[in-house]
């Protein structure tokens, strides 16, 4: 498992290496824990950023399958999913198996514009069919200047770490 995670990181760094030269990129690494159960379905996962007024400003990742269950990502659904179909379509990708994944964020909002200095919150939500739901969040400030976020594993989500640039 550790080896796979390291491999993914190396590959990601190789793929996105050129981009980091142009713009400071934040890396968010999250782990989907292996859960021993007779009926395992891959979790639906959303990663996004809200501003100090709890308004969503950037959807970083969305791993889902069928629209029926999007609502089970309760906060994501209220804040983004139910009203911004175009964004959901643009960002959504397939669900992922247990493992470690690194996401990249250029620090801009959904429209590609720069975010003003201020307080923001990183949200990671996961919901699994016939399983549980977890919501992890962590406040940060922009400009972040290499601030590090660490969120301990809980329920459907493994450890989350991020370096915000």
């Amino acid at each position: 498992m550790k080896l796979t995670g390291a491999c993914l990181c190396v590959c990601a760094a190789a793929l996105f290496g050129h981009a980091t030269l142009q713009a400071a990129q934040s890396d968010i690494t999250l782990e989907l824990p292996a859960i021993e159960t007779s009926q395992y379905h891959r979790p639906y996962v959303a990663v996004w950023v809200e501003d100090a007024q709890q308004q969503p400003v950037k959807l970083i990742a969305l791993w889902v399958e069928k629209p029926d269950w999007l609502k089970d990502l309760r906060r994501f659904w209220r804040k983004i999913g139910r009203s911004n179909t175009a964004l959901v379509d643009a960002v959504s990708g397939a669900t992922q198996k247990p493992g470690s994944y690194t996401l990249h964020w250029d620090g801009n909002n959904d429209d590609g514009g720069a975010l003003p200095a201020g307080k923001y919150t990183l949200f990671v939500e996961a919901a699994r069919e016939q399983g549980g739901r977890s919501l992890a969040k962590h406040e940060f400030t922009l400009p972040a200047k290499n601030a590090v976020i660490e969120i301990a594993a809980d329920g459907e989500l493994g450890d989350i770490s991020a370096i915000l640039r």
Binding site: D68, K71, R74, W77, G81, R82
Partner: protein
């Protein structure tokens, strides 16, 4: 004559026993993320919140579409403990499920020391009251039971007040109600905020806890009742308002309403 009286009596008993219960509508889903989804709507008259007790007729159940147009709900089943309706929600937006009873008039009186009741308004009662009836009083009654269901993006149209009878508005859209966030309801009578509306707030699972956690309230002079739901889950508000408002047809008015809603996880 005796048979007819017995029938009337049994009808009154049934209506009295049902009215002592609280009638609610509980959709299987309050929030959906797919068009054309079906929902099941449970309805029952019961003492314990969302523990079905008596099935009820659903002939007056209506579905208000996001554009405000109402349609009858025809796929219904009345069971002993609860009734159920199948409802398909075609487009995006907020829907209102409502069961509203028309105005009804009850005249109560005393005869030889016994309390009795008639289905009659003030004009009809003269012909029906027996000689010697005392303490005659006619009450106009109306009840309304409703719930909102939202498919994808929430809309406002079906939340608008109908300006008739007792209604509830809120500063939070029903699809946005979240545990640990303050919630405010305003109770309106015929479209105006009404003080003195008495109600009870409860939530599911009463059967499995010792403290039911019910909150009794009375609206303030702005018609408001505020609270912060502690737990996510399905909630019920039952409320009523009585006033000695004499009209041509009644001496008193009694309006009642039940409303079920979902409190989502933060």
């Amino acid at each position: 004559m005796l048979k007819k009286a017995a029938l009337v009596m049994s009808a009154l008993c049934v209506s009295a026993s049902v009215s002592a219960h609280t009638l609610w509508l509980v959709p299987s889903h309050y929030v959906l993320s797919k068009q054309d989804s079906w929902i099941a709507v449970d309805a029952s008259a019961a003492n314990m919140t969302f523990v079905p007790d008596k099935g009820i007729g659903l002939t007056s159940l209506k579905l208000y579409n996001p554009d405000g147009k109402a349609q009858d709900v025809t796929t219904v089943y009345q069971g002993k403990r609860k009734s159920m309706a199948d409802v398909q929600l075609a487009g995006d937006g907020t829907y209102r499920l409502e069961m509203a009873n028309p105005l009804r008039y009850f005249t109560s009186y005393e005869l030889n020391g016994e309390r009795k009741r008639l289905m009659a308004n003030k004009q009809e009662r003269t012909a029906q009251l027996p000689a010697g009836a005392t303490k005659v009083e006619t009450v106009q009654m109306r009840s309304r039971n409703f719930a909102y269901v939202t498919v994808n993006s929430p809309t406002q149209t079906v939340l608008k007040l109908q300006n008739a009878g007792l209604e509830i508005s809120s500063n939070t859209h029903p699809a946005d109600v979240v545990a640990e966030e303050a919630l405010q309801f305003v109770f309106h009578l015929d479209g105006k905020p009404q003080a003195g509306v008495k109600g009870v707030l409860s939530y599911e699972g009463e059967l499995y806890r010792n403290d039911a956690g019910r909150v009794e309230f009375e609206t303030d002079n702005k018609g408001q009742f505020s609270f912060t739901p502690e737990h996510a889950g399905r909630y019920l508000i039952e409320a009523s308002y009585s006033a000695d408002t004499a009209t041509a047809l009644a001496d008193k008015v009694r309006e009642s309403v039940t409303f079920t809603f979902e409190v989502a996880l933060p």
